[in-house]
Each structure stands twice: as structure tokens, then as C-alpha cells.
């Protein structure tokens, strides 16, 4: 290394070839903790170097690359290309069980669709928070159905194809009924008489099939 320095000192006024100067600028910008001005580059490079010209070449070389040579104030630095900023993030994916409120709301929508918020609340016996519905919408497990032809024309919710895919169902009609839930041991006791599966409520039936067929339209 010392030989090299000597050589350079000998050739005091002969600048290294521009390609070498470009390499030097590249190395300095890479290793520096702060942007480096043209003056400092020239001070650090062998006598007679022209950092400004080397920078023009270097800048061109990095065009379209993963990093770019950028001007910061009156100094120069190497920075990540803006479109690759996403690589500087590491996503940690965590899988969590849906909350009980969300599961119940989802279940009601699946079994009763199309169903309004008021109906969900009536079935659950508690109010449904905005966050729960939003979460299910965001997950694309439910979506808005058509408005109900009742006073106020409330919006309804239906389940999506995504929902069916996730739960491995061909249609919402494949969801087991209460009787099957019971025989599968998921229900302990018989429901009080009169509270039978509302899925077969004649009044609702039309709406339900309509809503369900809607699912397969799009």
C-alpha cells in the first residue's frame, strides 16, 4: 500500500484516469457516514482529480439501479431507490384468533344473510361495535348486500366468496343446521321450543335465497 502512495505522490500532478476517480468517489460515498461535498471528495482523492466529473459518471451508472447517487444540500450520498423503500421493512405476520364478538357476528351473518345490523344485535342480544363489522369487511369475509325493503331501508350484510373459500364451503347453505350441530356434540341441550332454526322462517326465506343467489352472481 505504501508503494502505491509513493507512486501517487510522484505523479503529483497527473490525475488518475476518470474511471479510477469514479471508483474512488463510489467508495468514499459508500463508506461515509454523512453526505460528502465535492470539495471534500477532491481533498481526499489524489491531486488533480475532478470529483465533480467523476460524480457525473457515477450518477449515470447508478441510474435505474437499486441505489442512487443523490445530492443532499451541496453534498452527495448514496441512497436506496425510492421505489424499493418497502424492502427496508420486515413484516412480522402474526396469526390471531378472531374475537368472540367477531366470530358470533360472522356466524349470524352466515346463517341469516342478508341481515341488517339491527337484526344481528337482536340475535346476539348485544350491540355490534363498528370495529367488529369493519374488521370483517376488511378481511373480505362479509360485504354489503342489497338494502332491505323495510322502513329506513337499512343495509344488509352477506358473506363473500372469500368467506366460503376460507371455510371450505360451496355455499352458505352448506353450513350445518342446529340439529346437526347438536348431533355433532357442539350443542349440549335442546333449544326451547319455538326458537327453532330461523333459517326456515318462511317470511325470511325469499330474502334469504335472494341474498344467497346474489353471492354467486359476482
Amino acid at each position: 500500500m505504501s508503494e502505491q502512495i509513493e507512486e501517487e505522490e510522484e505523479s503529483l500532478f497527473e490525475a488518475p484516469p476518470i474511471a479510477d476517480q469514479e471508483r474512488m468517489v463510489e467508495a468514499i460515498l459508500f463508506a461515509s457516514a454523512e453526505p460528502v461535498s465535492v470539495k471534500e471528495l477532491n481533498d481526499r482523492m489524489p491531486h488533480g482529480s475532478d470529483a465533480a466529473e467523476a460524480l457525473v459518471h457515477l450518477r449515470k451508472r447508478y441510474e435505474g439501479r437499486g441505489v442512487r447517487v443523490v445530492k443532499v444540500g451541496d453534498a452527495w450520498a448514496i441512497r436506496t431507490a425510492p421505489d424499493l423503500g418497502f424492502l427496508m421493512q420486515k413484516e412480522v405476520v402474526e396469526t390471531r384468533k378472531l374475537s368472540r364478538a367477531a366470530i358470533e357476528t360472522l356466524a349470524i351473518i352466515a346463517y341469516h344473510q342478508p341481515v341488517t345490523r339491527a337484526e344481528i344485535e337482536e340475535i346476539r342480544g348485544v350491540s355490534v361495535s363498528r370495529g367488529t363489522v369493519d374488521q370483517l369487511l376488511e378481511m373480505e369475509w362479509i360485504r354489503f348486500g342489497r338494502r332491505k325493503m323495510t322502513p329506513g331501508r337499512p343495509v344488509t350484510f352477506v358473506v363473500t366468496q372469500n368467506f366460503l373459500d376460507h371455510f371450505g364451503l360451496e355455499s352458505a347453505r352448506d353450513l350445518p343446521g342446529l340439529k346437526e350441530l347438536r348431533s355433532a356434540g357442539l350443542l349440549e341441550s335442546r333449544p326451547p321450543p319455538g326458537l327453532g332454526p330461523q333459517l326456515t322462517d318462511p317470511e325470511e326465506e325469499d330474502e334469504a335465497t335472494e341474498g344467497q343467489s346474489e353471492l354467486f352472481e359476482d
Binding site: 463508506a31 412480522v92 358470533e104 356466524a107 371455510f167 342446529l178 357442539l186
Partner: protein, 262 residues
């Protein structure tokens, strides 16, 4: 004439040797143990370490220790252990081998010492080569402004069909919902069995069939019998583990017997 020169050279060497030895003694603290001293001494032989005269080396070392003693320099124990070992080695090398004696020959020991010296020298050489390499942040450099990697947390919510159905079932049967529990009528728990047996083993001085501990009224219905037998067996194992009873079984599937352990 030729002889003269030789003599002269020999003299020269011995002077150099003496000076080296003195330097060694003065410097004894700077040395990293007897092997290091031996390596240093071996350099005066100016030969390939594999062909070094261990005998001569041993003599040099012993002379070094002797001189150190005269100068009343306190030598660490391992220097003296090495001196004793080299004296032993010297005797082995000088005396004709005793065929009745077991153990390695003087030549083997000498060869090993030469190997150790060569290996230590080799390690020193590569250590120097290693340190002379281009080094990070001295000759080549890492990125001056590393960018932090942001860690973002993304939560994926999930549920399965069972969650969904259980959720629905929970709502539909809310009024008469109770958590799913096994019907315990036909279950004799291990705790029950253990309680029962703790009371009974006091009387089990001789080998008794385990099945006789199954409580009355539990042997008619097969389901109840299974449960009681299983829990009684588990309780017996627990008591054996506690060292309260002994268990035995003559062969596979034969009745299991137990008795109190004193």
C-alpha cells in the same frame, strides 16, 4: 585453517547462544511458557524444526534453567516441570533402550516435542499472516450509513368452521347454554380412587389383586367398570411412585397385585 574457521564459528555461535540465553533470562516474564522458550532456543540451531536436535535443545533449556537459578530468578512451576521432563528425555536419548521397559521410546518423545515446536511455530506464522490481511474498517469498509430495517407487525385474524359453528350454537342456545361437559355420572376420577386407596392400603399387608380395590357398584355397568378400573390402576401407580405400595404382575395381562410397602 579450515579447522580454525570452524572453531571460530563455533565460538561465535556459543557467544550468540550465551547472549540469547541471558536475554531469555532477563526476559523471562515476557515468555509464554516453556514451549515458547524452547522454540526460541531452537532458533539458534537454525535448522528445520523437524530435524532439530532435541538433545541439544534439552541441554540448552537445562542450562537456561540453571542460569536462572543462579540469578535467583523465580521460575514458574511449569518451567521446572519442563526441565525435569527434558532431563528425563535426555537420559532416554543417551542411554541404550531397555527392552523390558514399557512406554514410548526417547525417539518418540523427541519426535513429539519437535512436532509441538513446529506446530507452535506454524501457528505463529499463520497468525501473523492473518493479522496482515486487509481488514474491515482499516483497509476495506462497510456502509457508512446503514439503514434500519423497520419491523412492522401485521396481524392475520383467523377462525375455522368449528369456531363459527360453536359461535352460532352459543347464540342460539344462549338461554340454556352451559359449557360442554362430559357426563360425569359414569366417571370414577383418579382423585376419588386415590382417596379410596389411601384409606385401604393400610390393610394390604399381603399381595392383593388390584381389581379388588374397584369400588362396589362400579363393576356391573361396563362403562363404569372401565372408568373405575382405569382410575384405580392409575392411583396404584401413583402410590407406587410415592413408595407406599409395591406392584407385581406375573405375565402380560395377568392380574396385577399390590401390597403395602414398609
Amino acid at each position: 585453517m579450515a579447522e580454525d574457521t570452524d572453531e571460530f564459528q563455533e565460538d561465535q555461535v556459543s557467544v550468540a547462544e550465551r547472549m540469547a540465553a541471558e536475554a531469555l533470562i532477563v526476559d523471562v516474564d515476557g515468555f509464554e511458557g516453556p514451549l515458547d522458550v524452547l522454540l526460541m532456543l531452537s532458533r539458534t540451531q537454525k535448522v528445520d524444526l523437524r530435524k532439530i536436535s532435541v538433545l541439544q535443545l534439552a541441554q540448552q533449556y537445562l542450562a537456561f534453567v540453571e542460569q536462572a537459578k543462579q540469578l535467583r530468578i523465580e521460575l514458574a512451576a511449569d518451567y521446572l516441570v519442563m526441565a525435569a521432563w527434558l532431563a528425563f528425555l535426555k537420559s532416554r536419548l543417551l542411554l541404550p533402550p531397555d527392552p523390558t521397559e514399557e512406554g514410548p521410546s526417547g525417539e518418540e518423545l523427541a519426535a513429539h516435542l519437535a512436532f509441538q515446536l513446529e506446530r507452535l511455530q506454524a501457528m505463529r506464522d499463520v497468525a501473523a499472516k492473518l493479522m496482515a490481511r486487509d481488514r474491515l474498517q482499516r483497509d476495506f469498509f462497510a456502509r457508512g450509513v446503514p439503514e434500519d430495517v423497520m419491523r412492522t407487525r401485521k396481524v392475520n385474524y383467523t377462525a375455522n368452521l368449528l369456531d363459527l359453528m360453536q359461535g352460532y350454537a352459543r347464540i342460539r342456545t344462549r338461554d340454556e347454554f352451559r359449557p360442554f361437559v362430559m357426563d360425569r355420572d359414569a366417571v370414577f376420577t383418579m382423585e376419588q380412587a386415590l382417596d379410596r386407596m389411601r384409606g385401604l392400603i393400610g390393610f394390604a399387608g399381603s399381595w392383593t389383586d388390584l381389581s379388588s380395590y374397584v369400588p362396589e357398584g362400579w363393576d356391573a355397568d361396563p362403562g363404569r367398570r372401565r372408568s373405575a378400573t382405569a382410575s384405580t390402576f392409575a392411583a396404584a401407580l401413583e402410590l407406587a411412585k410415592e413408595g407406599k405400595v409395591e406392584l407385581r404382575q406375573t405375565e402380560t395381562f395377568a392380574p396385577i397385585q399390590l401390597r403395602k410397602k414398609d
